[in-house]
């Protein structure tokens, strides 16, 4: 394979693509210069921080980080309202420090806190939390209605208290998780932990729609953070939850083995979008509008009746959600050869008004149901953010 003019193996090892493009014969010294130039051009992003204090909690409108660990806890029997205040004060302090690259109070691994890489720590409350806080829960703060496509497992579902730890660095995320777990366990017992990933930092520009493990561009229709529409879709105006939102978390198993049997054309028809760029089958670019009335020469709809993209959309502007999910790829279980899927996460002001109607349509008809199975399901209230001197949850607990 070695052709004249092709870069040497050593150049690939030492200098990578930049050395190859230079197109000159270079020695060790030049290789090193190339390496030095590369590292100067790409500043490390470990010290990039996302603000912690604000009207809304970080980790929702934040451009999704590469790694997320989701944790749910069950409150201990003796954890009452006063204890919840103490717990949220401690955890807010941890999050306020760690997200800014400052070790937590009594952090036994302080060096692991110095490179947050856009770390965010986001807290959520289950129904029991609100009950213990002697607050009034929104009607939607309960397990979702059952859907016939579901095969839910308790070990991936529900919980009294929820934390999302997300960062572009998995070591940083692991340390933050450890700190949160240590400071929560006096008040609550771990219930489940789920880990997910997206494309790594630097693979694409921020804001590029992720791909799921079926290879699909996934989440194209999302409302855009920073717009009035996003605020309308996501943030609640209701009582202690004003400035907060709701999270629906669904662990959706994706059967890669049966998906393997589906041809490329059928894969595109199942969603109604092209695989190469996510464009609707009626368009050219990812963000082109769906033309649901378009028909082919035979008079059949170009985007089939069963296509996911058709089934997921609604004419009612309220029936929309903001998706911010992660892929998962865990060790196979029970003799299988893969265990993959998506931690589907959607934020919306009102679960019943926005998420449930959408999910009902998908339950009734969505070809993707052939290869996907929801195996975990949780709903949490995500309280608003806080200012310096305050703590997350104070609107409920004070």
């Amino acid at each position: 394979m070695a052709e004249s003019g092709s870069p040497s193996r050593r150049q690939f090892l030492l200098g990578g693509a930049a050395a190859a493009t230079a197109g000159v014969a270079i020695g060790i010294g030049a290789d090193r210069a190339v390496l030095a130039a590369q590292s100067a051009a790409e500043a490390p992003h470990g010290e990039t921080v996302e603000p912690f204090f604000g009207a809304h909690q970080a980790g929702i409108a934040t451009d999704a980080q590469a790694y997320a660990t989701l944790l749910a806890f069950d409150l201990r029997e003796e954890t009452d309202k006063a204890a919840l205040r103490r717990m949220m004060s401690i955890l807010t302090d941890d999050a306020a420090r760690l997200t800014q690259g400052i070790p937590a109070l009594a952090d036994s691994e302080p060096e692991l806190a110095l490179h947050p890489a856009r770390l965010t720590i986001t807290f959520g409350f289950g129904p029991e939390f609100v009950t213990r806080a002697e607050g009034s829960a929104p009607a939607w703060l309960a397990p979702l209605p059952s859907f016939r496509i579901d095969a839910l497992q308790e070990e991936y579902s529900h919980g009294d208290f929820f934390v999302q730890v997300a960062s572009d660095d998995p070591t940083t995320a692991a340390h933050a998780v450890r700190m949160i777990v240590k400071d929560t366990r006096g008040f609550a017992a771990p219930r489940w932990q789920q880990r997910g990933f997206r494309h790594s930092h630097g693979t694409f520009k921020p804001g590029v729609t992720m791909r799921n493990l079926f290879g699909q561009v996934d989440g194209t229709g999302n409302t855009v953070p920073g717009t009035d529409d996003f605020d309308y879709v996501v943030w609640s105006n209701d009582g202690w939850l004003a400035g907060g939102t709701s999270l629906v978390l669904r662990r959706i198993r994706m059967d890669l083995d049966t998906w393997d049997h589906v041809g490329r054309s059928d894969r595109e028809l199942s969603v109604g979008r092209r695989l190469d760029n996510g464009a609707p089958l009626t368009g050219e670019e990812e963000h082109d509008a769906l033309d649901l009335s378009a028909t082919d020469a035979g008079g059949r709809p170009v985007i089939p009746p069963y296509a996911h993209a058709r089934r997921a959309r609604s004419d009612d502007p309220r029936e929309r959600i903001f998706r911010r999910g992660y892929n998962y790829d865990d060790p196979p279980e029970g003799g299988g050869d893969e265990n993959s899927g998506q931690l589907f996460m959607s934020f919306q002001a009102d679960v019943d008004a926005q998420f449930v109607p959408l999910q009902r349509r998908l339950e009734e008809l969505d070809l993707l149901n052939l290869w996907t199975t929801p195996i975990g399901s949780s709903v949490f209230a995500i309280p608003p953010g806080c200012q310096e001197g305050g703590y997350v949850g104070e609107t409920l607990l004070e």
């Binding site: 401690i90 400052i102 109070l105 009594a106 240590k182 310096e388």
Partner: protein, 191 residues
């Protein structure tokens, strides 16, 4: 930007204040102008405890221009507070003992109280100390006004502090009579 952990804590924590938590480090209530202006307390915390004894940690910076000697320490949550240091015993093990005459903080220096090192030892706790609580501690110097510190209670399983009569290896379960039942605090977190 290279960050030094200690400097980061001192400089940046000024900007972070959570009710009754980090803010407490700078709330020098009831002090004279001397203590208020010339001592900086950073990240004071006390280990949560259901037993008889616990310890306080944090940093006290002396910017008074003259040496300070801590004469005594009191808190409403314990009978007595001792000043403990870690020293090497005859076998080369680090052990904890009460310091003779109390801690001196030389002018311009910082007394660092940390697990496994110097600390304020609370003896005879009146009640269980729960994570997230705030404990008021008053530090009396040999001269001048006392310093009042608001310390946050945190769960903390580490920092075993063996006494002279223990011969087990570090990291073990220091289940000695000296410690009473304070070894229970870290196991379940179940208060």
């Amino acid at each position: 930007m290279q960050k030094n952990i200690k400097n980061t804590r001192i400089n940046k924590l000024m900007a972070i204040s959570v009710t009754g938590l980090a803010l407490g480090g700078f709330a020098l209530a009831g002090c004279s102008a001397t203590a208020e202006e010339e001592l900086t307390v950073t990240d004071p915390w006390v280990r949560s405890e259901a037993g008889d004894m616990t310890a306080m940690f944090g940093e006290i910076e002396n910017t008074t221009g003259s040496d300070l000697l801590i004469d005594s320490i009191e808190t409403e949550v314990a009978d007595t507070v001792e000043m403990h240091e870690m020293v090497e015993d005859d076998s080369g093990n680090m052990i904890m003992q009460e310091i003779e005459g109390g801690f001196t903080i030389p002018a311009g220096e910082t007394l660092v109280l940390e697990p496994g090192g110097d600390h304020f030892m609370f003896m005879g706790l009146h009640d269980e100390l729960l994570a997230g609580d705030t404990v008021t501690v008053t530090v009396h110097f040999d001269e001048g006004e006392p310093l009042t510190i608001e310390a946050t209670v945190k769960d903390f399983p580490g920092g075993n502090e063996p006494y002279g009569d223990e011969h087990d290896e570090h990291g073990g379960d220091h289940d000695s009579d000296e410690h009473g039942d304070d070894h229970d605090h870290d196991d379940s977190g179940d208060h």
